[in-house]
Symmetry: C2
């Protein structure tokens, strides 16, 4: 499959960069946020709605699709794009994260990992080679290597052992990869330990992948630790490959990470929050169920031009939420994804205009956050 | 509020007629099916999707909206149309049906009915005057009188007592009605008793309403009893007013009822079935969860041109259903409502072309049903 990443512009005050990611299913500009389509659908929305919101690429979960309906079934039905009626780029994770968070009775060996399905208890054995095959059959545009995401906190020795095995698995993924396969991204692990992160990054960069993910973050560690890991790791990565911060994060996390050199994000936060009635606005988060909105005729965010804000009051959204109506999840998801996608759009604009630091400051102050901006003043 | 009903064409073989219903929120052609928007939303869909499907008018449930968010709240927010972002006609029921099916500890007196909310146990007292006021505040286009819907079977004496009280309530609704109020429809009760149905119809017709509903059907009585009630009752109703069969029904029920002179229908069947994975097709109903569809690349109905059938396979719909995804309810609801709305469209076309009996026969045979068509051969 065709895959190209080109840097369009570099920020002069931070490590942020504007890039172009090209795949067989179209290209998009980074920094970019990929909504999570866990089981072959970004929960509650149609592909047409995603396009209207401005979504350019989505993530699919290999673990979920492998267990149900099964990658072979999806393959027979023309691949994941055709199955779910989404024509733009799809990145699939390797399943590693879910095996370790959802699977039970798992046993890791050098060869791979055995686990029981969270759906029916059936037993499965996945190897680095197998997860590449699954992602090949799914027909994704960007595939991830099989990794172990260690919990936080974990003993240093375990983090090292696991990271070294994940590196050996990455090598096997690379070896089994065929010419026509999806682009393959490595995943840097190593917990919150500087030497492990750096050793891992160097090892993987030497192997040579089309992109590099930073994994094992946003798993409970302090926010400062996440930023530290990015500061240590990103400078070791090749400029010409995209950097993907897996499972992150809040709007603030993303702005911070962009300034530290990250290009791609995915996170369930906007979609999951939406279903729980928590909405992002230009002045912070609100909980739509609060009594103060019972007769509020205004939209969630008067500065927002999403379908939800153009047509519905906070009072109606509160009513739908309290009534457990399906439309509540839909309208809230549209709003939150629009917020995320347009936040990334504004970040890209700011990089283009050389005003990213100002943008960061104004976002931070609108959200009432205090911040030390000195961490971003590093040479590129 | 403006309200007009005009007959465009009468069928020569049956009592079916093509009519035009005009309201302040636009007009539509009958026979028509109104999807149920119980709590201020046709479950899982947006108004734009309803319009795309071809829906021209919807029903709102007074009982639900009165309890939550409250009609006063909806009134303050500009009325039900504005609250839910639906610009076309809305018919609201009186709440009678839900008070008797969902409310608990209810006590009926001549004055009205006391009941406890199914949501929080709070106590409420509704009178004929109050339900007119509620529907006025909601701003619906067509309002219904407060009625008691007796269960099937019920003792003859109770059905008579209840019917007579419902008639007195109808009179009070009519008296309290103001010039600018929604059009007001009466509801004919009387169980499965010919004399009671006919007495009720005559009494209400003498009072003079803008439309007449036949209530108390589809509550467990045999299908033949429902058709009998229509055969006895409809001929007593004025030609120039619309006839509304409440809570009905299956595709077959609607075709039968149209041939017996009914103009309007509402029913939760297409939307509820959709959420339960039961889909209507041109050759009968299917359950999408069946294993036979696991790898079926074809749409639900190859003869259907709805959004769901244009873009998704049965295999994907089965996967979404088994995965309990919100998109499952959406795509299934779009398909089932499209089936209903287009069925009514084909019925209207057949009346226009004078081919309704042929249409009925071909539908009956496609569904593998046996039928005695003689009941429809009655003079108009």
């Amino acid at each position: 499959m065709a895959f190209r990443f080109e840097i369009i512009k570099k920020d002069s005050f931070s490590r942020a960069r504007l890039g172009s990611v090209e795949t067989d299913h179209g290209s998009f500009i980074s920094p970019a946020f990929l909504p999570v389509g866990t089981q072959g659908t970004v929960k509650s929305l149609t592909p047409e709605e995603l396009v209207e919101i401005g979504v350019e690429a989505i993530l699919g979960n290999t673990y979920h699709l492998y267990l149900r309906p099964g990658h072979e079934t999806i393959g027979k039905l023309g691949g994941l794009h055709n199955f779910i009626h989404w024509e733009r780029p799809i990145l699939t994770d390797s399943g590693g994260f879910q095996i370790f968070s959802l699977g039970t009775l798992r046993k890791i060996s050098e060869e791979g990992v055995t686990f029981q399905s969270h759906l029916d208890g059936s037993s499965h054995f996945l190897t680095p080679e197998k997860v590449i095959e699954i992602q090949r059959v799914l027909g994704s545009d960007i595939a991830m290597v099989l990794d172990e995401c260690v919990p936080y906190p974990s003993a240093y020795e375990y983090v090292r052992t696991s990271m070294e095995r994940t590196n050996r698995w990455a090598k096997r993924c690379l070896r089994t990869r065929e010419e026509t396969d999806p682009a393959l991204f490595a995943i840097i692990q190593g917990g919150i330990h500087r030497n492990l992160r750096q050793e891992c990054a160097q090892t993987l960069v030497e192997m040579g992948f089309q992109g590099y993910a930073i994994g094992g973050l946003s798993v409970g560690e302090p926010k400062s630790a996440m930023l530290d890991v990015l500061k240590w790791t990103v400078p070791l990565l090749p400029e010409g490959a995209p950097r993907y911060l897996m499972g992150v994060g809040t709007p603030e996390d993303m702005i911070d990470a962009v300034m530290l050199g990250v290009d791609l994000f995915d996170c369930v936060l906007p979609t999951r929050n939406a279903r729980n009635g928590t909405l992002f606005t230009s002045s912070g988060k609100i909980s739509i169920k609060q009594a103060q909105y019972a007769e509020d005729p205004k939209p969630v965010d008067e500065a927002c031009t999403c379908y939800t804000c153009r047509n519905y009051s906070k009072a109606y959204l509160r009513h739908l939420y309290l009534s457990k109506e399906i439309l509540s999840s839909r309208l809230n998801t549209i709003h939150n994804l629009y917020y995320y996608i347009h936040l990334l759009g504004r970040i890209r604009e700011a990089i283009q205009e050389g005003s990213l630091l100002d943008f960061h400051k104004s976002h931070t102050s609108a959200y009432g956050l205090e911040k030390d901006f000195s961490i971003y003043f590093q040479s590129n």
